[in-house]
């Protein structure tokens, strides 16, 4: 399996970032960066990462199911993550979540039929003072109003 030159360079750097014999440490970062490129953690990606860090695919599987950002199913091109944890809840983050579900007709960890947008109700993303907060892939949106959410989702549909 080959990756973009950028990802390959990152993988090479990761494999040198830990003490000798500790390359397994690169596994989780490699899965996340690999997922960014592939779209999800595919069986092929699992096997490739296992081979490169020197463990079995089973060992990779065992670890990856622990981490909520690693998805074995493809998510949308735009993964919309809405925080409803306490600080966002107090600024109606739960209502933003309902609004997004209604508008897109999908629920938690589901993808629109065209594969463009997926939704996830997430735990605290570290934007509590600028609530309610949303992340689209890795991009933060703060102080999100219902109107802004509407426009954002419209934009993602067309992009």
């Amino acid at each position: 399996m080959t990756f973009s030159p950028e990802t390959e360079a990152r993988f090479a750097k990761l494999l040198q970032s830990y003490p000798p014999g500790r390359q397994r440490s690169a596994m989780i970062p490699m899965l996340l960066y690999g997922q960014d490129e592939v779209g999800h953690v595919s069986d092929e990606l699992i096997e490739e990462v296992a081979r490169r860090v020197g463990v079995t695919p089973l060992q990779v599987n065992e670890v990856l199911t622990y981490y909520s950002m690693l998805h074995k199913k493809p998510m949308g091109k735009y993964h919309v993550q809405i925080c409803t944890n306490i600080s966002c809840l107090l600024w109606d983050g739960d209502k933003l979540w309902e609004q997004a579900c209604q508008k897109l007709g999908v629920g938690h960890k589901e993808v629109t039929a065209d594969g463009r947008i997926s939704l996830e109700e997430v735990e605290c993303i570290g934007a509590c003072s600028w609530a309610p907060a949303i992340q689209v892939n890795y991009e933060f949106h703060h102080f999100v109003t219902p109107e802004q959410l509407d426009r954002l989702l419209e934009g993602l549909r067309k992009q």
């Binding site: 440490s25 107090l90 209502k95 938690h108 109700e121 570290g126 509590c128 003072s129 600028w130």
Partner: protein, 437 residues
């Protein structure tokens, strides 16, 4: 651009570069006393560095509040193993969003703090474990680390001192539990983030089975100002037994939510009214979380006379925690608040030990039933009972973190639970949305 306007009531020590043009660049850093603390520390004996940190009364800023100088002194200097520095940048305690700003606006301050910790315990390599959601901060830190290598502030023989240090970033991939120190170390080693049995503590057996200093981002960032200005000057900013300032994240029902650097011992009501601009829509203060959702909740009345420091919060049977302040007004349903907090802990419990795995799941079910109007009086007692019985009976503090807010909310707001019984709808709102996580 800053996320929120600074307040004139702040004491900006760690955040003094926030808002400067190109504040994250090494040029700005060097032009504003950057890396001078390292140069000074390189001329000190390791014991002197640790002593200065002890004098500063700096306590861990991640939530536990353990004295930093003491933690560093536990590292066995004569160990034949390499020693390591690990930065906990897995900021994920609900209500907390401060380490983000330190890394975004002043990444070199963190690097310098790490280097000084390295000098103090004879460590020559370190990792910054950054939560996966903070991808842009990994890019900022990598950029800053690259600049530091290029200008000779990282790598071999730093500035001719003979001291070597290699620093790396490491991304998490979504797990609150990895903010717990021993689970973080497991995760750093490429495993599930399950806590380790202690002792041995990380100072003796930490990353890769080697002695390790592990602190929060803010703790390391406090070290350069302590070394430059002296431990005593830092201690004098705070209160006895807790020196310096704390980056405090004001969240919830206030007019000016934001992150503000306040001296330890800052009065709670002054913080809400004068720093935070008062309660939103002029409502009354009902409940207050001092430092992240793991802390016992205070009532509005308990906030009178309280100050933001370890002792004042301990006297009210709560904790200063991580600096994630959550302010709730009179229209907040405390059953819903307790439920949302419990949903979080049930989702994040690693499942390793039974009291936490089962306790959080049962509490989530019980709180859901009460909030939906299907509960009985016995359920309310059971919620209190299960949460009290989790306390102190789990491998790691996640069980306590789930127990403490729940116990305090049931005790202090029992009437609200009663108001939900007998099929009655939530008195605060008709919406019955139940989170799916």
């Amino acid at each position: 651009m800053l996320y929120n306007e600074p307040s004139p009531l702040e004491t900006r020590i760690l955040s003094r570069r926030f808002g400067m043009p190109n504040s994250a660049s090494i040029e700005t850093y060097l032009a504003t006393n950057g890396y001078e603390a390292f140069t000074k520390a390189a001329g000190m004996k390791p014991e002197q560095i640790i002593e200065e940190v002890k004098i500063s009364n700096l306590r861990g800023r991640g939530g536990a509040g353990f004295p930093t100088g003491m933690k560093w002194s536990f590292v066995p200097r004569n160990s034949p193993k390499p020693k390591y520095i690990v930065v906990n940048a897995d900021e994920s305690e609900p209500g907390t969003c401060k380490d983000r700003l330190l890394m975004e606006y002043d990444p070199h301050e963190l690097i310098e703090g790490v280097l000084i910790a390295g000098l103090a315990v004879d460590a020559h390599a370190g990792w910054i474990y950054i939560r996966g959601e903070y991808r842009y901060l990994i890019e900022i830190m990598d950029q800053a680390i690259g600049e530091a290598y290029k200008k000779g502030w990282l790598g071999k023989n730093i500035q001719g001192t003979g001291f070597d240090f290699e620093l790396y970033t490491h991304t998490g991939a979504g797990a609150y539990e990895c903010g717990e120190e021993s689970a973080l170390l497991e995760s750093l080693e490429g495993k599930r983030g399950v806590p380790r049995i202690r002792p041995p503590f990380p100072a003796v057996v930490g990353a890769f089975q080697c002695p390790t200093v592990l602190n929060n981002v803010e703790t390391y960032c406090a070290v350069p100002p302590i070394i430059l200005g002296g431990g005593k000057a830092f201690a004098d900013l705070g209160v006895p037994k807790a020196g310096g300032t704390k980056l405090t994240c004001l969240t919830g029902h206030i007019n000016n939510p934001g992150v503000y650097e306040l001296t330890l011992g800052f009065p709670v009501m002054k913080m809400i009214n004068d720093v935070g601009g008062g309660m939103r829509n002029g409502k009354k203060l009902k409940a207050f979380i001092p430092g992240g959702s793991s802390c016992p909740v205070l009532t509005g009345a308990e906030c009178e006379g309280a100050t933001m420091d370890y002792d004042s919060m301990a006297a009210r049977k709560s904790m200063l925690g991580s600096g994630g302040v959550v302010v709730m007004d009179e229209d907040t349903c405390m059953v819903k608040a307790a439920l949302r907090i419990m949903r979080f802990y049930a989702h994040e419990s690693c499942g390793w030990c039974i009291p936490c795995r089962e306790g959080t799941a049962w509490l989530r079910k019980l709180l859901t039933r009460v909030h939906e109007g299907g509960g009985t009086r016995a359920d309310i007692d059971l919620i209190g009972d299960v949460s009290r019985n989790m306390l102190g009976r789990t491998f790691c503090p996640l069980g306590d973190a789930a127990s403490l807010p729940t116990t305090s909310i049931v005790e202090k707001f029992r009437q609200e639970f009663e108001d939900h019984l007998n099929g009655r709808p939530c008195p605060f709102e008709s919406s019955r949305h139940m989170v799916s996580v």
